[in-house]
């Protein structure tokens, strides 16, 4: 075949016979190629874990407002006595406003339970149906046990998404979402790579025991190392971190 007779495609003319099979093969190849990599990409996704919303739950307990609202369960058919729950509002909202003035009070809570292993959270219903102070005098909050200063590696997550409100609810792809949750008042947790005193989840607090959100936003979703004082508040491990020691592990 001379060069003049070699097939030459012109868009507005009919496809040259010599190119039809080639182009047909390209079209079929493109469809199979995209379908194939779609299957591989989807089938090899990482496991987001077992966290999930697991139905309605109710509890009575002692509310602790700082560093972030949690409940120490004293009575419940849904949670173990002595366990501690992270309390959240709907969506990316905390319940600091609702918990204000109730620190140390006996309260009844109701809402959607979120659970992942040892970490449990409760997304409160609106109004008094979700959080209501109970009249009872002489409530004794759980004792604080100091476990000393520790250097810990792990990932800072928002407690709600990590517990199962989103799957996956951790990692860099989720970082902006987690930041938004934390800015909205959701309690931050450190998911440690190694257990301390039998636990791998730590509610984060500042050195003074107050909120620490603003100091940790650049380090959310990353493998980091930090130092701080570990305390046990009843069923909740709290880490009073030293923000100066926060560093990303390359």
């Amino acid at each position: 075949m001379s060069d003049r007779e070699a097939p030459f495609f012109i868009g507005w003319a009919a496809m040259p016979p010599g190119l039809r099979w080639f182009m047909g093969g390209i079209a079929l190849g493109l469809i199979l190629f995209l379908a194939g990599i779609a299957y591989v990409t989807a089938a090899t996704q990482d496991d987001p874990g077992q966290g999930a919303f697991v139905g309605r739950a109710n509890a009575t307990g002692i509310l602790q407002a700082e560093p972030y609202p949690i409940l120490h369960v004293t009575e419940s058919a849904d949670f173990a006595l002595g366990s501690a729950l992270l309390l959240t509002g709907g969506g990316k909202r905390g319940v600091q406003g609702r918990a204000a003035g109730l620190d140390g009070a006996l309260v009844a809570v109701s809402g959607a339970r979120i659970a992942r292993g040892d970490i449990a959270a409760l997304q409160l219903r609106g109004g008094e149906a979700g959080l209501k102070a109970l009249e009872q005098a002489a409530i004794t909050p759980p004792a604080v046990q100091d476990l000393g200063r520790w250097r810990i590696s792990g990932e800072i997550c928002d407690g709600k998404c990590y517990a199962g409100a989103m799957r996956p609810g951790r990692g860099l792809a989720h970082k902006a979402c987690a930041n938004l949750c934390l800015i909205g008042g959701i309690p931050p947790v450190l998911v440690a790579t190694d257990k301390i005193d039998g636990t791998e989840f730590f509610l984060l607090a500042g050195p003074d025991g107050g909120p620490v959100t603003d100091q940790i936003l650049d380090h959310v979703g990353l493998l980091i190392e930090l130092e701080g004082q570990v305390q046990r508040h009843g069923g909740m491990a709290v880490l009073r971190l030293d923000p100066e020691t926060l560093k990303v592990i390359p």
């Binding site: 868009g11 182009m23 493109l30 990599i37 779609a38 989807a42 077992q50 902006a176 930041n179 390359p250």
Partner: protein, 348 residues
């Protein structure tokens, strides 16, 4: 070619091209959601919205990779030239797939918050001073904006309005968009993914784009053979009938010297339409035909045949000692330049 603007000049090839694209795109999304995801070994399923944002996001990345491979593939093997013909529709569909990905992200990761989603998109993560944790979403936004602008200006109206050089310079932003997408994925999803399968596909795709461009670049002539008023081209028989020899000129542009039987003429290598490589085209019925979209120019004056009005610069030629020489200074677009007449029998 057209002497007026209509939304899309449909023809059988375009219907076929778009049909294959839509089937391929639908196959990707459906296989991802209906076959691939259920086959994953998961304790509990990934959230539906996250699954769909992954499906559309990865689809957009692979489609963009394919788009960027078409140009160099067509340079390396002319059989791939038909893929160039309707590439702009490929780009528009890819932009829509990328937009769908962005909508899922916005309505999931940035929803359910007291902060406005658009404010949250730019303000939730501001760690611009670090690599790990860098707000990779911003890179995705830049890429999406570029894709949107390129899709919106893909019509020939904008090509005519802006002029081919500016239009082409604008559309070269596709490489910036691809770079942003690569960084967007590398600093985002890839950091979380423990399974190497996607990382492998991602890396191979980016390498294919880079490798094919390097191969096409290595093949293209770049150095001019001289700087005087005339430079040597070749002996007439060294140019295949109906084809051209492309020459880099001293002014940095390229000329294409065509042989049409016993006539030899020279035009600018840049088509007036999208600056396509005329020299990689063919002389058909006496007209140089662009390999990209079939625009045609008469060999003797660089004008499109009536009723079309496109023009390209011509070059004067002469024959010295059996060698074609080309004038280094081009004539104005549409200027007649009498083709050399070569005795066919003496040179074929």
């Amino acid at each position: 070619m057209s002497d007026r603007y209509i939304p899309v000049q449909w023809n059988a090839n375009k219907w076929l091209y778009d049909g294959v694209l839509l089937i391929a795109c639908a196959a990707y999304i459906l296989v991802f959601l209906r076959l691939g995801a259920p086959a994953a070994d998961l304790t509990r399923p990934v959230d539906g919205a996250i699954l769909r944002m992954r499906a559309f996001g990865s689809c957009a990345f692979f489609m963009l990779s394919v788009i960027l491979c078409i140009g160099p593939l067509a340079r390396l093997d002319r059989r791939f030239l038909p893929l160039l013909y309707n590439r702009r529709h490929f780009g528009v569909i890819t932009a829509l797939v990328a937009l769908t990905h962005a909508v899922y992200v916005l309505n999931w990761y940035y929803a359910f918050s007291p902060t406005d989603p658009m404010v949250a998109l730019l303000g939730a993560n501001t760690s611009y001073g670090q690599i790990l944790g860098f707000p990779f979403e911003t890179l995705g936004i830049v890429a999406l904006l570029i894709l949107a602008v390129l899709a919106a200006t893909s019509h020939d109206f904008w090509l005519s309005f802006l002029g081919p050089p500016l239009w082409k310079a604008l559309h070269l932003l596709i490489y910036l968009a691809y770079g942003c997408v690569v960084a967007h994925v590398a600093l985002g999803y890839l950091q979380d993914s423990k399974n190497p399968a996607f990382a492998l596909l991602f890396g191979l795709s980016a390498l294919a784009v880079a490798g094919l461009h390097l191969a096409a670049w290595a093949k293209a002539p770049r150095k001019s053979r001289g700087s005087g008023e005339w430079i040597a081209v070749a002996a007439p028989h060294e140019i295949a009938d109906g084809r051209a020899k492309i020459l880099p000129m001293p002014d940095g542009k390229r000329a294409a010297v065509f042989r049409d039987g016993d006539r030899i003429g020279a035009l600018s290598n840049a088509c007036a339409h999208q600056n396509g490589p005329l020299g990689e085209g063919r002389v058909i019925d006496g007209c140089v035909t662009c390999p990209w979209h079939g625009f045609q120019y008469r060999l003797e004056d660089g004008c499109s045949p009536p009723p079309f009005t496109e023009k390209v610069p011509t070059y004067n030629l002469r024959l010295r000692d059996g060698v074609i020489e080309i004038a280094t200074k081009p004539n104005a677009p549409g200027t007649p330049a009498t083709p050399l007449q070569i005795a066919e029998a003496a040179h074929v």
